[in-house]
């Protein structure tokens, strides 16, 4: 996969969807492509982390530690991203991400992330919008859940 294809993929990622093409290209160029073999862990719950990942291809499982061992709570596919919480709030990884099949990701370091945000404030706005959407989404789910209960 070359840079232009990666940029096309990034455009499909919600937080980047409104960012200019040339900025996305810079992001792709300056970020590392990391491939994981099936079964390899991308990050482990509880570990400190300072990178976020965008899935460029393949499927990953999201696992949470419980008293009864790890359980799969969700799966992630192309265009999903994860790890942004570790970047923004400096908290340990909140879940374990494991590649179910060979997984291609773009690794964005905390440093790079902040540098890009500082350089292109419009990107920060997009990320805020996306996070707000997520909060809203969660709230809705919560409301639905409480109503159901």
């Amino acid at each position: 996969m070359n840079l232009n294809e990666e940029v096309e993929l990034l455009k499909g990622v919600p937080i980047f969807s409104k960012v200019e093409q040339s900025k996305l290209k810079l992001l792709a160029f300056t970020s590392e492509r990391v491939n994981f073999a099936a079964g390899q862990e991308v990050c482990h719950q509880g570990d400190p982390g300072d990178t976020m990942y965008v899935i460029l291809g393949g499927i990953a499982d999201v696992l949470i530690d419980t008293d009864k061992g790890q359980i799969v709570v969700a799966e992630m596919q192309r265009n999903s991203f994860f790890g942004e919480i570790a970047i923004l709030c400096d908290v340990p990884r909140t879940a374990t991400i494991k590649a179910r099949e060979p997984l291609a990701t773009l690794k964005i370091t905390k440093d790079m992330f902040y540098r890009l945000v500082a350089e292109f404030p419009q990107m920060a706005v997009e990320i805020m919008r996306e996070l707000a959407h997520r909060v809203e989404d969660t709230n809705q789910k919560l409301r639905a859940a409480t109503r159901a209960a």
């Binding site: 070359n2 160029f29 540098r115």
Partner: protein, 906 residues
């Protein structure tokens, strides 16, 4: 040291001075000959005065004229040869030539002798000063600046060398000349003679007085220059502080002020010097003035005949220059005397260590003794605050004892006293009844180790630093072949003449027995053991992997590393590591290497093909032209330039992304953008030749797998491979040494051990590829028993000035290892582990304690945290410079008090 430079010179160079003096006297005979022969040549040889009456005259008559004792008595041994005028001319001319040559040879010999003597004395003086530095009391180094010491030994004594050769010869020689002239004048006329003497005396009194301020200023100049050197060194030492605190301009102000003062001193110096010169000239012309006036008057009035006046004038002609030179010599004498005093004043502090404490031991150093006894020890920096206050303590050297206490309890000072780093102001320290401070340094060096809070490392290899404490004496003399031996012998003879010790740094100084080895062959296991104790083995192993080994020097190791390469590649074939490493294959384009590396397919040796040089190299250009690749690479460069301009244009120039990722620097980007604008989308053909060279460097740095611009397709790969082959086949012999090609069957001396084992490149973007391959390499090396050999290579790593190429913790660990490898009878660890994290501190303590217990050796552990004291047999609790309690941990815990308090707070 002698206060007077003259006494110093006389003491050490008397025989040489006498020889030179005799040579000078002898030289006068030939000098006189070279002056008289021309007269004979002109008078007799050319004008033929002696041949007016006889066609021939006897020549080389050898007779003894005794007429002074027995009138008319002349004993003639040889009547001489009869020569005619022409023969005489030829013979006399050759005699003249011979006299000139002999005269020249004398001059040469005298100057060489003087030079050698001066240099010898300079060497002696420098050595003596350096020797004194090694004997300075430790506290003195808190007062002197190292750069000042260095300038004193290096620069300030330098002029002394030139002067020493002339110290005695010059005044005698010049004095003799002047005396002869004066005597001649006195013989002609008493009156004139006295006038000349009076005027000369005036000159010799006045001129030195005028020069006195010059000397004072000279001394000031010397001190201010020395302080400047000290300040510059301070700037270098404290450069981080200067930057962190933004104090650069304050520093500038200080230096500017100093330079101003130096300028003032130097300018005053010039003024005074030229004033003195002016008066010197006037006064030296006052004598002829007096001779003209007085001599003329005598001649006119008939008291003296004209011939005598002219004679006096002629004699006087020879007088001013020796007098002037004598005055100059005197000036120089005072100058160097001051310099000498200035320097030696700085080298005789109070409390210097007597030389015999630093004697070179004859054999293995004796043991330290069984028991250290401190009685009423007081340490006080300024006489008021007592850092240690009457401390009395009996400490068996085999005891394992911890010292705990608060920050100002004096525990660290106690540690320094035990290592003789601090001299007590009162009380006594005895070891088996003998004064601890009178034990020779080598005994202490071999048997007692001390590690403080910070470690100084010498800018040598890790190995040299580690073995530093084992080098107490030359154990095995270096072996030289016949020719080298002769050279070394003369070298040492010369050393002894200059009072330098004939110690050979090339000898093997390492005392292997101290480390528990029998020789260089089995030292490595001892080193590895110690490195493990301080947990430094992993780091040195990594350094080893990044180190290089010359296959010619270590064929055995190169062979083994090749085996590791084969073993690793066997493993890589297994599925677990699939796709992590792209092996070097000369028939494949390596996508994880840059275009330049693909073309070269080897390691660049030297500068020829290194970095960006490859793009401009004429041979590489010719290869690219021959394979029709040059325009395509330029086109690729253009494409990269366009992408870079597109990506980085919006960024501020100081954004670190530029440095990390851009092919084009922030400064260059606007120019490239301009170039692209001018092109307006036209192809590479429109680019001017000069810019093409610049574009050429870009694709060379391009790595397809990393940069992912999709610039290298299968066709391009094929063409670069063709260029690779052309490059290798046509490589002219002169460039064979500039590249070491990748070859699976051969060790590559230019590449690191790791690259040699890997023989490939980690594939970009494979999760944890580096860690996994690192582990695999470690496994392979362990299986082949090569781990220690890699550590051996890592030991060659140069630690840099002050060890700064190693991180602080590794520096400190190396410092501890350096103390432990001696297997000291007693090791004093003075809060030396404080910079490590808590668990590492405890592990290193346990390691040190375990080996010491096993061998029955002693440890004094000055604890940075009180709870470190738990595993020790004895604990000393300190407070306010005094020992507050002492006993086993359980006793102390039972008693409570300060011990319990310290333990609770730790």
């Amino acid at each position: 040291m002698e206060r007077s430079l003259f006494a110093y010179i006389w003491r050490y160079s008397r025989p040489e001075q006498v020889v030179i003096l005799m040579l000078v006297v002898l030289a006068q005979v030939f000098y006189f000959m070279s002056l008289t022969v021309p007269k004979d040549v002109i008078n007799n040889g050319i004008q033929g005065n002696a041949f007016k009456h006889h066609p021939t005259i006897p020549f080389l008559v050898w007779e003894l004229d005794l007429s002074a004792i027995l009138p008319g008595k002349v004993i003639r041994f040889f009547d001489g040869f009869q020569v005619d005028q022409l023969q005489y001319l030829v013979v006399m001319s050759f005699i003249f030539l011979a006299a000139v040559i002999i005269n020249g040879l004398f001059k040469k010999t005298i100057n060489t002798q003087k030079g050698r003597m001066g240099e010898r004395m300079l060497r002696r003086l420098r050595y003596e000063l350096y020797d004194r530095i090694l004997r300075f009391p430790p506290a003195h180094f808190r007062k002197v600046k190292q750069a000042e010491l260095a300038t004193m030994i290096k620069d300030e004594v330098e002029p002394l060398g030139g002067f020493i050769g002339d110290a005695y010869v010059q005044p005698m020689f010049l004095g003799g000349q002047a005396l002869t002239a004066i005597i001649f004048i006195m013989l002609q006329s008493w009156t004139l003679g006295i006038i000349v003497i009076v005027l000369l005396a005036a000159q010799m009194v006045i001129i030195p007085r005028l020069r006195k301020p010059v000397l004072v200023l000279g001394r000031l100049r010397q001190i201010s220059a020395r302080q400047l050197a000290g300040r510059i060194a301070e700037t270098a030492d404290g450069v981080n502080e200067i930057h962190v605190h933004g104090a650069a301009n304050y520093e500038r102000a200080d230096i500017s002020e100093r330079l101003g003062v130096i300028f003032k001193i130097r300018f005053d110096l010039y003024q005074k010097k030229f004033l003195a010169k002016f008066w010197n000239n006037i006064l030296s012309q006052a004598t002829p003035f007096a001779i003209y006036l007085v001599g003329g008057y005598f001649a006119i009035t008939g008291h003296m005949d004209v011939g005598a006046v002219v004679g006096v004038l002629l004699a006087y002609k020879d007088l001013p220059s020796p007098i002037k030179e004598l005055i100059d010599w005197d000036q120089q004498r005072q100058d160097v005397q001051i310099k000498y005093e200035q320097v030696i004043d700085q080298f005789q502090p109070e409390g210097m260590m007597p030389p015999d404490l630093q004697a070179v031991p004859e054999g293995p150093p004796p043991p330290l003794g069984k028991e250290l006894a401190l009685a009423g020890v007081v340490v006080s920096e300024d006489g008021r605050v007592k850092q240690l206050d009457s401390v009395s303590l009996v400490l068996p050297t085999a005891a394992r004892c911890a010292v705990i206490g608060g920050a100002s309890s004096g525990k660290d000072v106690l540690g320094q006293v035990l290592a003789r780093q601090v001299l007590p102001n009162g009380g006594s320290v005895k070891i088996d009844g003998q004064d601890f401070f009178q034990i020779p340094e080598y005994v202490l060096g071999a048997r007692l180790a001390y590690i403080g809070q910070d470690t100084y490392l010498f800018p040598l290899s890790v190995r040299d630093n580690l073995l530093f404490g084992l080098k107490l004496r030359p154990v095995v003399p270096a072996s030289y072949d016949e020719a080298a031996k002769l050279l070394r012998d003369t070298f040492w003879k010369e050393s002894e003449r200059a009072g330098n010790p004939p110690l050979d740094p090339n000898a093997d100084w390492v005392d292997y027995e101290l480390a528990g080895a029998t020789g260089p062959a089995d030292l490595l296991p001892c080193i590895v053991t110690v490195l493990k104790q301080v947990e430094l083995d992993e780091d040195i192993y990594s350094l080893g992997l990044r180190g290089t080994v010359d296959a010619a020097a270590r064929p055995d190791l190169a062979e083994k590393i090749l085996k590791a390469r084969h073993a690793l590649h066997e493993r890589l074939k297994g599925g677990a590591y699939a796709g992590l490493v792209e092996p070097f294959d000369k028939d494949h384009y390596i996508r994880n290497l840059s275009v330049a590396e693909n073309l070269l397919f080897g390691t660049a040796v030297g500068k020829q093909f290194d970095g960006d040089n490859i793009a401009a190299d004429p041979y590489v250009r010719s290869v690219l032209q021959a394979t029709d690749l040059d325009v395509d690479l330029q086109r690729m460069g253009l494409s990269i330039a366009e992408t870079m301009v597109e990506l980085f244009s919006g960024l501020s120039p100081d954004n670190p992304l530029f440095e990390q990722y851009s092919f084009i620097s922030a400064d260059e980007l606007p120019n490239v953008r301009l170039l692209l604008q001018r092109l307006g989308g036209k192809g590479i053909e429109a680019v001017p030749e000069a810019d093409r060279t610049r574009l050429m460097t870009l694709p060379f740095r391009y790595i397809e797998a990393r940069h992912r611009l999709g610039l290298i397709d299968a066709d391009m790969e094929e063409r670069i491979l063709r260029a690779r082959r052309t490059f290798a086949e046509g490589l002219p012999p002169s460039l064979h040494d500039a590249v070491e090609f990748y070859d699976f069957g051969r060790y590559n001396s230019a590449a690191t051990l790791q690259d040699n084992i890997l023989f490939g490149r980690l594939v970009y973007g494979q999760a944890q590829a580096g860690e996994r391959i690192g582990t695999l390499i470690a496994e392979v090396l362990a299986e082949l028993g090569l781990r220690d050999s890699v550590i051996d290579v890592g030991l060659e790593y140069n630690v840099g000035v002050g060890g700064k190429r190693l991180p602080g913790t590794q520096r400190q660990k190396l410092g501890i290892a350096r103390a432990l490898i001696k297997r000291p009878q007693l090791v004093v660890v003075n809060e030396a582990v404080a910079m490590f994290d808590g668990r590492t501190q405890d592990r290193i303590r346990d390691n040190i304690l375990a080996t010491a217990t096993e061998d029955g050796r002693g440890v004094v552990w000055i604890a940075n945290r009180a709870n470190q004291a738990e595993p020790f047999e004895q604990v000393v609790v300190m407070q306010g410079g005094r020992i507050a309690a002492q006993g086993t941990p359980s006793d102390l815990a039972a008693r409570g008090g300060l011990y319990a308090e310290l333990m609770a707070s730790a």
